[in-house]
């Protein structure tokens, strides 16, 4: 849950609202996608056409 101080700092009324937050790395999720098993996250940023042409 979002800490009340964070909501307060954002000017949100704590009596009315609470918040939750979560996140995950876009790249890591892609690496796990069914059918893919990309083994090295750096491949996504090397821009090797032998890699890119597969997508």
């Amino acid at each position: 849950m979002v800490h009340p101080n964070v909501l307060k700092a954002g000017g949100i009324d704590l009596e009315i609202y609470s918040g939750f937050a979560f996140g995950w790395g876009v790249e890591r999720v892609l690496m796990m996608r069914t059918g893919l098993r990309i083994d090295d996250i750096r491949l996504l940023f090397e821009n090797n056409l032998k890699f890119l042409e597969q997508f």
Binding site: M1, P4, F45, N47, L49, E53
Partner: protein
């Protein structure tokens, strides 16, 4: 922060029928993530920064008392406090603390007739399991107690402290101390240090002891020294000196005020036992800060609200009790080891709910209607542009925002603390790196086409940099006019009204590049189309060939042609040979059928305009 906690050591504190794997699972589900189990004994635990109390055997044992019963295991606390016969003796220490905020609690005792030697095998084995090097029985006791109780402590050679005097103060800029690891360190101002009677610095408080006061094989009297320091200062000092020790890592997260004396007692007792010494001074305990126990008003409704499910009062009460909280009427008293972590009702809610188990909370999506989001037109245009380029055979590239100095483009912002030299500057252009990628992929094919749609960073005086989105396009083995045509077709696809100026740069090796401020393109793009009703009247198409030089750009020529007469419906490129440019022109009158006489007149006007404005003549 990761700590190594042997299950075998935990069993000094807690008797349980759970096995090491059970404990690991229970901790991971309710307290801290156990990353791995080494040799079927040592738990590698990732303790979150708010839980300084979890960085010790004692801390993990406390967690086990609360969480193992929830998992159906038996637990019983078996550890007893180390007994000490009494503190008395002739040895004295004169202590002056310049500022109480530096050292909320200062405690020490002197132990005489110490025989410094190797520690027994059991101690050495435990230290080794947690990754600490055994040195001698005195130093080992301080490290052993730090790991076991979570209280860092230090042992000085009492006789090396000049005048048996200590002044705890802030350092002045430029003061020097050589620490136990032999490194000479120049201090900034504001680091907590101890000065002895001769004005020498003998301790880098909370981080590492001084070499000049270290315990060695000749030491006869030990000053055992247990403190609580201001966490903020310890972190600042440790970070600025670049010296991160196990002690500093614990102090900066906050150490239990109330554990100081029990820790001293344990360490003193162990030292006496292992080194054959005896206590030769009174207990020195200076409390600069008054520590009062925190209490928070209990709000059962709030806990239910945060959990989204009812937490029965009995469960709340017994859970908090199992974690060391004391409920007196409407108030919950926070145990001293959670002082830095628990402040508000939500913190209590977290304690209750994590023991309940997040995985036991019901799965339910939030109710109500979904909030409406207006379409963000930038995203759809970005998508359109990317799809279009993909379909015309371009590969999309993702490059880092930070580059080496050679690939950043001109005027790039330099990063103060880059990860490495390849990531030192924030790029001002996408093209250099795209060209580099082009070069790296030269073996792929004769024709290589790349693009990137991403921000660059343009430095501005006295304010944050601009971060415009740029569309960078590069190609090798593509004809100039084809490259240009693709970009113009992209504009059409995005619905760009009118002209949009862009430049293509030619590089050696048949490489072309173009960079467009995408935000500018967005401003002139439109998703909506304007429809002109079809007319029944026919158009007349003609070609004209003109001689062109350097005087006018293609766009200027076309504009001039179109502006000549409203009945010039279309004017486009047909061919170029040398300096002879052939244009296809379509004449259309929507009000009546246009005649070839009328088109001849318009054509003459076109040629006259081109000549007078740009000196362009018809090819003969």
């Amino acid at each position: 922060m990761n700590v190594l906690i042997p299950f075998s050591w935990l069993k000094d504190y807690v008797k349980t029928n759970a096995e090491v794997r059970d404990v690991a699972n229970a901790l991971s589900e309710h307290s801290f993530s156990v990353e791995k189990i080494i040799d079927n004994d040592v738990l590698e635990i990732e303790v979150t920064p708010n839980r300084g109390d979890g960085l010790s055997i004692l801390g993990i044992a406390r967690e086990m008392m609360a969480i193992l019963p929830v998992k159906g295991f038996s637990v019983e606390w078996v550890k007893k406090l180390f007994p000490v016969k009494g503190y008395s003796g002739k040895d004295k220490l004169k202590v002056k603390i310049s500022d109480n905020s530096l050292v909320p609690r200062f405690s020490a005792v002197v132990i005489n007739n110490v025989k410094v030697k190797e520690s027994p095998a059991g101690i050495k084995e435990r230290l080794s399991k947690v990754g600490i090097r055994a040195i001698n029985n005195v130093v080992d006791v301080t490290n052993y107690c730090m790991i076991e109780i979570g209280q860092p402590m230090h042992a000085f050679d009492y006789d090396k402290i000049s005048g048996y005097e200590m002044l705890v103060r802030e350092s002045k800029k430029g003061e020097v101390i050589t620490t136990l690891d032999g490194v000479k360190r120049t201090l900034p101002e504001g680091v907590i240090v101890i000065e002895d009677g001769d004005g020498r610095l003998i301790d880098l408080c909370g981080i590492m002891g001084g070499l000049n006061s270290e315990v060695d094989e000749n030491t006869k009297k030990v000053l055992l020294f247990v403190q609580v320091y201001d966490p903020v200062r310890i972190r600042k000092s440790s970070m600025s000196l670049g010296h991160r020790t196990e002690a500093a890592l614990r102090f900066e997260k906050g150490v239990d005020f109330e554990s100081v004396i029990p820790s001293l007692q344990t360490a003193a007792g162990m030292l006496v036992e292992l080194s054959g010494g005896e206590i030769s001074s009174e207990l020195i305990d200076l409390t600069g800060t008054v520590y009062t126990q925190k209490h928070i008003k209990i709000d059962y409704e709030k806990i239910d609200k945060v959990a989204g499910v009812e937490m029965k009062k009995d469960f709340v009460d017994s859970t908090l009790a199992s974690l060391g909280f004391l409920i007196k009427g409407e108030d919950v008293y926070v145990p001293s080891w959670r002082y830095d972590d628990i402040d508000i009702a939500e913190d209590l809610a977290e304690e209750v709910i994590r023991i309940y188990g997040y995985q036991n909370l019901p799965n339910a999506l939030p109710g109500g209607t979904l909030p409406y989001h207006g379409k963000n037109s930038n995203f759809s245009l970005e998508d359109k542009a990317k799809d279009f380029l993909k379909h015309t055979g371009f590969f999309e590239c993702y490059n880092y925002s930070a580059t080496s100095s050679g690939l950043s483009g001109p005027g790039a912002i330099k990063i103060k603390n880059p990860l490495n030299a390849d990531l030192e500057y924030l790029r001002t252009s996408l093209i250099p790196k795209l060209m580099d990628i082009l070069h790296k992929n030269r073996g792929y094919s004769e024709t290589v086409k790349l693009f990137e749609l991403a921000p660059v960073y343009i430095s501005k005086k006295s304010t944050l940099p601009d971060q415009p989105f740029m569309l960078g396009i590069v190609a090798r083995g593509v004809d100039f006019l084809v490259f240009k045509g693709i970009i113009e077709a992209l504009f059409e696809e995005l619905g760009v009204a009118g002209e949009f100026a862009f430049e293509i740069t030619e590089h050696p090796g048949g490489i072309l590049s173009c960079e467009i401020v995408f935000d500018d393109l967005v401003n002139v793009s439109g998703e909506s189309r304007i429809y002109s009703p079809l007319t029944g009247f026919n158009s007349i198409k003609e070609d004209i060939t003109i001689v062109v030089g350097e005087d006018a750009s293609f766009n200027e020529i076309i504009s001039e042609v179109k502006d000549t007469d409203v009945r010039v419906n279309k004017a486009s490129f047909k061919d170029i040979y040398g300096d002879a440019l052939t244009l296809s022109i379509e004449f259309l009158d929507r009000s009546k059928q246009i005649t070839s006489e009328e088109t001849k007149n318009i054509r003459d006007s076109i040629i006259k305009n081109l000549d007078s404005k740009y000196g362009i003549k018809l090819k003969v």
